[in-house]
Symmetry: C2
Subunit: 367 residues, 2 copies
């Protein structure tokens, strides 16, 4: 590390406070200069760090001497505007914001490249599971054809809790809330909107496609019952909220959807419990690559943010090229899926895919 | 990509020829300038690329105008000397050579940093499974405490073939050779030396430790019999060659070994068949992160090399800092393992670890 990297933090919630603790525990590498939070006055006693300026005004952050701004407030505005302002002020940005990256990622990354600054977003998808680097970097030498993934930790915690205890979705949600894994309004999680935003980001990384999250077909998991889970278990499977994207470059056809699916027990998807995320990536030359890890929570998300900060601190002049995205000719959703599965379901399910040797669609049935 | 990146290739074997095909299929991004191979005269007809200079002399490569040298010859010398010479000549280097990186990685990376050039080695560990980036980059914000992994594709192909067919190790080896997954002399694979070299590289990345592969305790898998596998299966498990490294920073004690181990069926290790590799990484904040993928073969290794080349082509001035490594106070091997497992084995095995929720050692027994 060349010299101490100065960091301003936007948002002091679950993720922001975990990042603040990491930063102040490494005074040689990082210096936390500002914390912007609406509740600055109330919260400042939570972090005993005398050198940090607490504020409620973005102008103060922009005028400050931070090299990097960490955005951990969530939501589209004011987050997107503040990221833009930080880049224009010559600061690099690390964000955990999937909604902003799904909708404005391309224009913000282009702005960052033009400014000679970096915009990094490992934390926006998969928590501590480093899927952004796996797709954007580690498998960049291959041509990716398919991504199948669990991308929403809250829904996964709810479904795996129902599975383990036989309880209702209502009770599983209460349990997830008690453990800090669900918001008071979990509809964006259960309905698939959160996973669709993350899937749109992965489509840009893996296929070079500009996809708006609203173009991704979603089917809600909010109506799953204990009876559905029992039926899946009797058939040798489990129910998970699966996000699926597959791109046929010859016809420029993207198939993309988020839906509750019966996956074979023994697959990496059924094995993902609690807030875990998992992904299976298919490449023309690499075959199947899998990755799983802690998909939600302050500590796991802070690891992704700290990893991005370490990359910036190591090389502040690193070049992150502006993305070149095209639009798919055609986007298909899950409506074609049921017909296809009707042919193969029993076969797929009974064969039981290991999650390691997937040569067919790694699930059995849309619930 | 700023401009076409010129690449010289050392070695035209399984990996080298796969890389050459990838490079010549992307003429806008890469230009293959030289191929160095002892059998240059004989092999040049295998690649219809008129602009490429075939040679048997490293001097010609060093005098040439390539930006990057890809080293795919294997073995320690002359590979290590040639990598050093390429860096001194102002070229960046991409290598698939685990033996060189395990023994000379730190000094070569230091030389590269001093030269303002890059030395990248994703292909040295795990084939297409991007574990070098996961540890060195994606989880860099965490403190890694343990790595448990399958790192040798040949041994895994042999053991999983024996398991599937009930055949002898001798017959499984013949099958692996026929499918291009085993050398004529597979002793470095079966004895654990290959996995130990890779584990030494991971110890440097994950723990910042300087470990010579010879310091890692290995137990051979060459004596595993069909009877051993049947016994493991009856107990609900499978046998895999596992590489294990765990670091206690408080006492600077590293536990590191490679041995055939009974792993629970359903774990990601038992699920890894054929030439697949798999790894489970434990971090203080991120918990368990898993990764698996195609661990051997020309195409998979070429993906890792092409990904490294893409990173260099994108940013030739990128800073890769020289590693700062320390030596462990104490290195323990597998001798302590049997006693520990004797206490927990039955319990661990019967509980059946999913490979996703590992809160204990993810295996049951040393074979």
């Amino acid at each position: 590390m060349v010299s101490c990297c100065r960091v301003a933090l936007l948002g002091f919630g679950t993720v922001g406070s975990a990042v603040a603790r990491c930063l102040t525990s490494r005074p040689g590498d990082f210096q936390l200069t500002h914390i912007l939070d609406r509740g600055a006055d109330r919260k400042r006693s939570a972090l005993p760090a005398p050198g940090v300026a607490w504020t409620t005004g973005m102008d103060e952050v922009l005028r400050g001497d931070a090299h990097v701004v960490v955005e951990a407030i969530g939501g589209i505005e004011p987050a997107a505007g503040w990221i833009r302002a930080a880049l224009l002020a010559g600061k690099s940005v690390v964000t955990a914001n999937k909604q902003v990256m799904a909708r404005h990622g391309a224009s913000l990354l282009t702005l960052a490249a033009r400014q000679g600054r970096q915009l990094r977003f490992e934390a926006a998808v998969g928590g501590a599971m480093p899927i952004v680097r796996a797709l954007g970097d580690g498998l960049a030498g291959d041509r990716i054809t398919r991504i199948v993934a669990i991308l929403n930790g809250t829904t996964n915690a709810v479904l795996s809790c129902m599975e383990a205890s036989g309880c209702s979705l209502h009770d599983a949600l209460a349990d997830a809330r008690a453990r800090g894994l669900a918001e008071s309004d979990p509809s964006a999680d259960l309905d698939g909107d959160d996973a669709a935003a993350k899937l749109a980001i992965l489509c840009a990384l893996a296929f070079g496609l500009r996809v708006d999250p609203s173009q991704i077909d979603t089917r809600s998991s909010a109506d799953i019952t204990a009876h559905d889970l029992a039926r899946a278990r009797a058939a040798g499977g489990a129910i998970r909220q699966i996000a699926h994207a597959e791109y046929d470059r010859d016809t420029a056809t993207l198939t993309a959807w988020v839906a509750p699916i019966v996956v074979p027990r023994g697959s990496i998807f059924a094995s993902a419990t609690g807030a875990q995320n998992a992904a299976l990536i298919t490449g023309e030359h690499s075959g199947e690559t899998g990755i799983f890890g802690t998909g939600a929570g302050g500590s796991a998300t802070a690891v992704a943010i700290m990893s991005d900060l370490a990359a910036i601190a190591r090389d502040r002049a690193a070049i992150l090229p502006a993305p070149v995205l095209s639009s798919p000719e055609l986007i298909l959703g899950s409506t074609t899926l049921n017909a296809e599965l009707a042919e193969h379901a029993e076969n797929d399910l009974l064969c039981g895919l290991s999650g390691l040797c997937v040569d067919r669609r790694p699930y059995a049935e849309v619930v």
